[in-house]
């Protein structure tokens, strides 16, 4: 019965609807158990999203929620004037295909913008950005 408060006698149509509903639920659950992938989102990052830090980082690391396609995923770091300051050596961690890193030179205090564009292994593209500030 769909709703406990109802006391209707179930007609053939009602029974059919129950069967259809159960079947659809089952189908959905089966869909979810199939091998599947999805868009890659940021799980966390170092320096953290929106953080203020005192020690200059040597790398930007972003952990994503999906494994990435190395040839088509990148991170760029820009200073407050819009100049790209990273060493353009983006790579995926050998032991964790969801971790993307890029090296940094010795940064001066200021605000920096991290821009990423990644492709998950099923070719879904996601992009995004965040900032951090080096205070000294």
């Amino acid at each position: 019965m769909f709703y406990p408060g109802f006391s209707a006698n179930l007609s053939l149509v009602d029974k059919l609807m129950k069967a259809v509903t159960k079947s659809l639920f089952t189908a959905c659950m089966l869909l979810l158990t199939q091998e599947s992938w999805a868009h890659a989102f940021v799980d966390h990052a170092e320096p953290a999203v929106g953080s203020q830090i005192q020690a200059a980082p040597t790398q930007v690391k972003i952990w994503f929620t999906q494994k990435l396609e190395p040839a088509m995923s990148k991170i760029q770091v820009f200073d407050s004037t819009g100049l790209e300051v990273d060493k353009r050596d983006v790579k995926i961690d050998q032991s964790n295909a969801a971790l993307l890193t890029v090296s940094l030179p010795e940064l001066k205090p200021g605000k920096y913008k991290v821009v990423w564009r990644v492709v998950s292994v099923d070719t879904h593209v996601t992009t995004g950005d965040f900032a951090f500030e080096l205070t000294r």
Binding site: A8, V13, T21, L24, F25, V49, G50, T127, D129
Partner: protein, 324 residues
């Protein structure tokens, strides 16, 4: 895109033809709900502006409608949207309703089916903005008439929009997770009035009564605050699962008759709730609060499970069925 607004359609199949040749910025991907950094969830009681392959299954809706006599309505429905062409999706939907009056057996049956189409004609990743147009066809006579389903069809050309506020200045960081989506549609019934004839059993005199079917303005808004956006693009405040994937929101779903003598009454609901969005699906629940006595007096509830088919089955749905 979902079509769960009970004031717009009581069940339905969707059809739409969307045309257009607006000059638009290129899309970054054929995927659900993205405009730049912004992910827009599929809203529950108002339609969202994205053309995507999605499945709402199921949507539960329970509310007591005013009488006399008052009726408790419970509805279970589903919508399936498929991206058929780049930026163009077709959606089909229907529902099954149970209506219960005190001390009577419940009446049950299918709602009118709806068929609709939606075309995204503008997207700006930089400004997290998207606009779309569509047409909703509420197929008259496809549902059980005794449950209140219309025997005539209604067409609703609709404008959709979405705007994220991630482009606000850096000195307003905690306002940047806000976003708004909305719809504005003109609902046009294919029959302007229903005539019914009653015969007095004593005098034999016939009385003709006429119920007018006005054109109505269907308008809705959803104001969202994305904790996903906050954590991933503004500031990592250390939220843990499941809170880092929550999107609290308030939806407003309204209907205003425009003509045929029924132009003074706006009805609708305010629906505060929350959506949890994961990699493959989202789950949402909202209260349904009538805005006035003409809409109702009781608070209802609506809940929905919604699947992102382009993520669940990427081999099939990650691209449009036709075209690129």
């Amino acid at each position: 895109m979902s079509f769960k607004n009970p004031s717009v359609s009581r069940g339905a199949v969707l059809f739409s033809v969307s045309i257009l040749t607006f000059v638009a910025e290129p899309f970054s991907a054929f995927s659900h709900g993205f405009a730049g950094n912004r992910f827009f969830p599929a809203t529950i009681t108002t339609d969202d502006p994205f053309a995507a392959s999605e499945l709402s299954l199921p949507t539960f809706n329970e509310i007591r409608q005013p009488g006399p006599p008052p009726v408790k309505v419970f509805d279970i429905s589903t919508d399936l949207s498929v991206l058929v062409l780049p930026r163009t999706a077709l959606t089909i939907g229907d529902g099954y309703s149970i209506q219960k009056v005190a001390n009577q057996n419940a009446r049950t049956g299918f709602d009118n089916a709806t068929l609709s189409g939606l075309y995204e004609f503008f997207e700006s990743d930089k400004h997290e903005t998207i606009t779309s147009i569509g047409l909703i066809w509420d197929i008259g006579g496809s549902g059980r008439h005794s449950l209140g389903n219309d025997s005539f069809s209604t067409f609703t050309p609709t404008f959709y929009f979405g705007k994220g506020f991630g482009d606000l200045p850096d000195n307003l960081p905690f306002l940047r997770p806000f976003a708004i989506t909305g719809t504005l549609g003109l609902s046009i019934p294919t029959r302007v009035a229903n005539e019914s004839i009653a015969v007095d059993p004593v005098t034999g005199q016939k009385t003709v009564s006429v119920d007018h079917n006005p054109d109505t303005l269907q308008w809705g808004l959803a104001l969202e605050y994305s904790l996903i956006y906050l954590e991933q693009h503004v500031k990592d405040i250390g939220l843990k699962a499941p809170f880092d994937h929550l999107i609290p929101l308030v939806e407003f779903s309204m209907s205003t008759p425009l003509n045929r003598g029924i132009n003074e009454l706006t009805t609708g609901t305010i629906n505060p709730g929350v959506i949890w969005s994961g990699q493959y699906y989202q789950v949402g629940v909202e209260a349904i609060i009538p805005i006035n006595g003409h809409t109702g007096h009781n608070v209802g509830v609506i809940a929905q499970v919604h699947f992102y088919l382009d993520d669940v089955l990427p081999r099939i749905f990650s691209k449009p069925l036709f075209g690129r």
